[in-house]
């Protein structure tokens, strides 16, 4: 078997194990299924009703922000899952078997991708129930979902680095939130960054989350003339910018996570 085939084959076996675990832990199920439903409903009804924009639907604008926020938050599981498996010694057992050295990371990121598919399906159904619609062609919509999932996958590798660096599973979640909170909120997820103070506005404009959010809004036909995307290049060319961001994230963080993993287990 080729090295890549082996890594993916073993990765899929391990991903299946991770998903089985997720289905058996109420807390994890809660974060992948219930949280997306709650976020969708809360944002649609609480903020959607508080922020009145005459003539246009804020809910439509908002929901893509909720989608992106959810996949970003889901990536925390990558880091905490890895940290927990290493701490419990189960990774040592896997490593004593003739598996690919990459398979633990690949398995973890694949299972988190599957987890994101589940979350997105749940959010789409909930969104449709509260009046959100895709106003574009099926092809564009498909690219939108693909972009969301690719972005989520690339993020998993960043949070894997966090989990493998911090290592104590209890601390991983907090450390992760220090990264993903600004990522989610200094962005165009819920409001237009036009009104931000200068420094924050520049950060928001170049934040990958903003590019992805704007790209998915365009691909779903959920843009809104009352919320202009902004003048910065990534927001004017969001689809291209998003793909570039995803490539950069994967190129940087896949090797980084792999070397962190080697360090974390070799003790």
């Amino acid at each position: 078997m080729s090295a890549v085939g082996l890594a993916v084959g073993d990765g899929v076996v391990l991903a299946k194990r991770n998903l089985t675990r997720t289905l058996r832990v109420p807390d994890l199920m809660m974060s992948s299924l219930i949280m997306p439903i709650m976020s969708t409903l809360l944002f649609a009804y609480i903020f959607g009703s508080a922020i009145q924009v005459p003539g246009v639907s804020y809910t439509e604008f908002l929901l893509v922000g909720v989608f992106v926020q959810t996949v970003v938050f889901n990536s925390v599981i990558t880091g905490s899952g890895l940290a927990e498996d290493i701490q419990k010694g189960i990774v040592d057992r896997f490593r004593s078997l003739p598996i690919s050295p990459y398979s633990v990371l690949i398995g973890r990121t694949i299972s988190d991708l599957a987890n994101n598919v589940l979350s997105i399906v749940v959010m789409v159904v909930t969104g449709l129930l509260v009046g959100w619609r895709i106003d574009s062609s099926p092809g564009e919509a498909a690219v939108g979902f693909l972009l969301l999932l690719l972005f989520a996958y690339a993020l998993s590798w960043i949070l894997a680095v966090v989990g493998l660096s911090v290592r104590a599973p209890e601390v991983v979640t907090n450390a992760s939130f220090m990264i993903i909170m600004p990522l989610c909120f200094i962005a165009n997820t819920y409001v237009s960054p036009e009104g931000f103070p200068a420094v924050l506005r520049v950060i928001a404009e170049w934040n990958p989350v903003s590019a992805v959010t704007q790209a998915v809004r365009q691909l779903f036909g959920n843009t809104n003339p009352d919320f202009p995307p902004g003048e910065a290049w990534p927001l004017q060319n969001p689809i291209l910018a998003s793909f570039l961001w995803i490539v950069v994230m994967l190129v940087v963080f896949m090797p980084f996570a792999t070397s962190r993993y080697r360090k974390a287990v070799a003790r």
Binding site: R17, D92, R93, F94, P98
Partner: protein
């Protein structure tokens, strides 16, 4: 001629604050059971992790089943089975799922993994519990499943790191029985333990490790002979007499008498059994030391350990050892 299943030469492994292996040597003959005996922090687990390719030594040479662990770790993993100190099984999966997972990761294929899992569950008397999640298993059942996991690929070399640490007596007996059956089937087994009884019962040969070095190696009988023929053991009624008793008994021993505060006991290594018991008790009586119990016995592995390292091997012993026990404890907390 018998070939060696494990060879370690001059192995060194240092961590930031500790030298875990400090020129460690070991040779395990094929088809035999080697007990690697040592206190907490002696370097047993580090040695196991090197043999199992989980960590690389800083220097030295290690071969398992004739394969260099540094040059070709993948090939080593194909032929070893490892069961760790902390049962490394997934508690959210069922017993069957755990074994099937390991089979899949050994690339036995779907059918192969399923068949092997069922076979092992049967062998380890876990068929009834196969469908239950591991968190509902008792400590002994988990340990048995962990052991079964190490056997999925019918390994040439089986490595068990403290297989019974933390188990109650009954589960320990059951685990010993399971290991005993494996041994009878002719596998090469390296077993680390801090229990002398365990090494005595399961191992053909015993290697004693302390401070990252091999300090003795032989059969249990050889090791016992090495430290001297017999032991005179007297228990006093008053612990205050211990020092006095040691001085009184010193002339009849061929080694330094050792006193233990906790059980008010003095142990004297003696050359031959004949007459020494009576002689010893008479001397104590004349010195005015009251004796509760006195006997002559063959040395236990505990005596061997004490003679070789200056401290006792088991935890209870460490606690009674004053300064030495303190040193060992510190090492433990560093790990």
């Amino acid at each position: 001629m018998m070939t060696a299943a494990i060879v370690a030469r001059e192995v060194v492994k240092k961590y930031a604050s500790v030298t875990a292996l400090d020129g460690f040597d070991l040779e395990v003959a094929e088809g035999t059971v080697m007990g690697l005996l040592g206190p907490n922090g002696a370097g047993k687990t580090t040695a196991v992790r090197v043999f199992a390719t989980l960590i690389q030594p800083d220097s030295g040479h290690v071969e398992v089943a004739g394969i260099d662990v540094v040059a070709n770790p993948r090939a080593v993993r194909e032929v070893i089975g490892l069961s760790g100190q902390y049962a490394a099984v997934d508690e959210l999966l069922t017993g069957y799922e755990n074994l099937e997972l390991i089979g899949r990761l050994y690339h036995l294929g779907k059918k192969g993994a399923k068949a092997r899992a069922e076979e092992l569950l049967e062998q380890f008397d876990l068929t009834e519990a196969a469908g239950r999640r591991l968190k509902e298993y008792s400590g002994g059942m988990r340990r048995r499943l962990d052991l079964a996991g190490a056997l999925v690929r019918r390994p040439k070399v089986l490595i068990l790191d403290e297989p019974t640490t933390g188990l109650d007596i009954r589960s320990r007996e059951a685990t010993w029985d399971a290991i005993g059956e494996l041994v009878a089937s002719g596998s090469t087994l390296l077993l680390t333990t801090q229990y002398l009884e365990e090494a005595d019962r399961l191992a053909h040969r015993i290697a004693v490790i302390d401070h990252g070095r091999l300090i003795a190696n032989g059969t249990a009988d050889e090791l016992k002979d090495q430290v001297g023929g017999h032991r005179l053991e007297v228990t006093l009624s008053d612990a205050a007499d211990l020092d006095h008793a040691r001085a009184v008994l010193a002339p009849i021993g061929h080694g330094e008498p050792v006193a233990s505060q906790e059980d008010r006991r003095v142990v004297v290594p003696i050359a031959a059994a004949g007459g020494v018991l009576v002689d010893g008790v008479r001397r104590l009586d004349m010195a005015g030391v009251e004796v509760v119990d006195a006997s002559v016995r063959r040395p236990t592995l505990d005596d061997v350990f004490l003679a070789l390292t200056g401290h006792r091997a088991d935890k209870a012993g460490q606690n009674g050892e004053g300064v030495k026990a303190g040193e060992t404890k510190n090492e433990e907390s560093v790990r």
